[in-house]
Subunit: 408 residues, 2 copies
């Protein structure tokens, strides 16, 4: 009899975005003329920039001719792309990362989801709360947790990110083996300094733990003091894997490209204590279960690294950052406490005692603005909402003026 | 301490293609003027057809403009693509498959590799020999096998595909839960009739087993009697998942698109015997760990279903099938026994007692032709080589005339 991986049965059904959709649909039916503004899902709205479109078309055109046609490419990504990533995203920061430590993929969601396959089933996992739900769900599916009770999975070490710790997780009070970190953070928009990250790198070195560092929002960093990569921290090459995405950086949510850095210095251990190269393991995993990213997509990605490409995508991010500033200003004017919105497209707003779904309903009903209730990201989000800067400036301004009218 | 998934340590290092590359390089160094012809790896050589290129460019252009830009798409694939697949690939054959049973992905390698995540770790897996190595390796990584000994993993039920059974696996002599089948077969090129498949479907129904059916080479079928889909067999909707790929069909090895069909009638069971929807499980898996295929790639794929697209890709496949016929003719002339080459791009040649690596060396040294030694696909391939039709007609003809000269 074909039996199921019963760990899937532990998964709490995620109704977050379908619940949101249902509430918005109901509202829209009752108010057919209302112009609802969506600042919920973190999806870009601006088209790909001209330089990237040119690279994309060029890549497609190469596929049309026998002399330039590309069949199977390297699973790790083409060298032309890996080299420019290593040079511009890392070596330019003084971070020691080489091209053959980079694995190009179709996005950080796949990589952060798949990476846990490399670990023993009984490693202890530390996950921030609030958090991007996929880190948790993929570990549940793999059998690394117990049942779901009172809003949390048994066996997971939750790292509370709350006002008292500036929404930065503190070191856990018990030993953990695998640590998920994400800065600039989704959903809170909080950022970590080099000193903040160093605490975790030191912990990982001392405890032979491993950090999975999600840097999907790195391009939003404008403070030159803030680290853009965990490899700016000494020792991180030994204990950290970094995930990057072009989704928000280059507007690639529908184009699909990202990459993962697995330094050759990163070791993982057998039960007997023997060190194994994590790089070799991920290489084997990708070689067996992945066939590389579409060639024209890799060409479009490469175009993001030209001088023009860099200038154009910076302009896009500046646009969203300006939206975020408009949101922050409105929150200031309304007297709401929040974090994020600087060096991040997300603003995490304290509902001042309101339940996050009540706050969601209030915004929808009184201002026709859709946000994301913080409860969808974990127990620590129950009194927060996330407002996303991914929309047009006009819509963001209109949304904020409606909020001010409704809530003042 | 971060501990490894030690199942990875059981993996036999696969040196097949690097061994081939090394031998070819050595030969090329010793014979710098020799023009080596590669009929080894199953990679297409012809560019994408004009209709597909047009669809691809159109998709890219949509990404350039705010009104047509696409952000996150449905993880399962856009409805426009799933609907045309259901209609033209299934309903046209009389196979009952609906659009919402189709999951578009970046290729059959990912899907065949990832699908085993849905099953309990101790299900008994039946795998043909010879076989596409990824089916085996992904189950090894997941801990479903014992150690590698004498060329085989303990715990796997190998289904020998040999001359005596027309290279079609026979029902196993012990109970199995999960069965991998691939027709037209890689590497042997053998095909299965409806009656052949019905034996397996009946077995699966009777034993509550599940068939993972890899139909990546379906487009090469020209005999109207042969089934193109397992869903042409009565009852298969209850017990079979089908994987398809555009890699060989549309020349997409570097473009990356495929899909998996998970019928809603397909059930899987808990230890306690409770039925669970396999469709729901895969939906959850993909929703959690995958973010959909690049939108322009989906547009290019859609173009393969237009009247012109269909005609153009048929022409491409006819071209490779003609190459295969040239290879078969040469084998006939040389008096070699073989299977495949009809309804398949692969010809599986019996080395007449030769070890497959010796046969490989013979072809390389005497005719400067590269094939794939059958031993790379399993123990039953040890006296075979695979010759691939993926090259230009000129090269295939030259290769065959060299073979005839060298071996006659």
């Amino acid at each position: 009899m074909i039996r199921a991986n019963e760990n899937y049965l532990k998964l709490k059904a995620s109704y977050l975005f379908s619940d949101i959709a249902n509430r918005v649909n109901t509202f829209q039916k009752e108010h057919p003329d209302a112009q609802v503004i969506r600042l919920g899902i973190g999806d870009v709205t601006k088209p790909l920039t001209p330089e990237l479109i040119k690279g994309f078309h060029d890549g497609v055109e190469e596929m049309a001719h026998e002399e330039t046609f590309k069949g199977y490419g390297p699973e790790q990504g083409y060298a032309f792309l890996r080299e420019v990533i290593a040079k511009q995203d890392y070596q330019a920061l003084g971070a020691d990362v080489s091209a053959d430590e980079i694995f190009v993929s179709d996005g950080a969601k796949c990589d952060t989801g798949n990476f846990q396959e490399l670990f023993a089933q009984d490693v202890v996992v530390a996950i921030p709360d609030p958090v991007y739900p996929a880190y948790l769900d993929t570990n549940v599916m793999a059998g690394r947790t117990g049942a779901y009770e009172d809003g949390r999975y048994k066996g997971v070490v939750y790292l509370d990110c709350v006002k008292e710790n500036r929404f930065l997780p503190k070191l856990p009070d018990r030993d953990v083996d695998l640590i998920y970190l994400c800065f600039p953070n989704n959903p809170t928009g909080s950022t970590a300094t080099k000193a903040d990250l160093k605490v975790w790198v030191d912990y990982a070195i001392e405890n032979k733990a491993l950090i999975l560092f999600d840097a999907a929002y790195e391009a939003f960093i404008r403070d030159s003091d803030l680290p853009r990569s965990i490899y700016e921290i000494e020792g991180a090459r030994k204990v950290a894997v970094e995930f990057r995405s072009y989704s928000k950086t280059a507007g690639f949510t529908g184009t699909r490209c990202g990459f993962t850095v697995v330094p050759k210095a990163c070791m993982i251990y057998t039960q007997a204590g023997e060190a194994i190269s994590l790089h070799d393991m991920w290489h084997r995993r990708q070689g067996t279960k992945f066939n590389g990213v579409s060639y024209p997509v890799q060409k479009a990605t490469f175009a993001a690294y030209t001088e023009q490409g860099q200038a154009q995508i910076k302009q896009r991010i500046d646009y969203y950052l300006n939206n975020a500033a408009v949101i922050c200003q409105a929150m200031d004017d309304l007297g709401f406490e929040y974090v994020g919105g600087k060096n991040s497209p997300y603003v995490w707003v304290d509902g001042d005692g309101r339940d996050s779904w009540d706050f969601f309903d209030l915004l929808l009903n009184k201002a026709q603005v859709v946000c994301t209730p913080g409860a969808g990201f974990g127990r620590c989000g129950q009194q927060y909402i996330r407002i996303s800067a991914f929309n047009s400036l006009e819509n963001v301004e209109l949304a904020m003026s409606r909020l001010k009218e409704a809530l003042q």
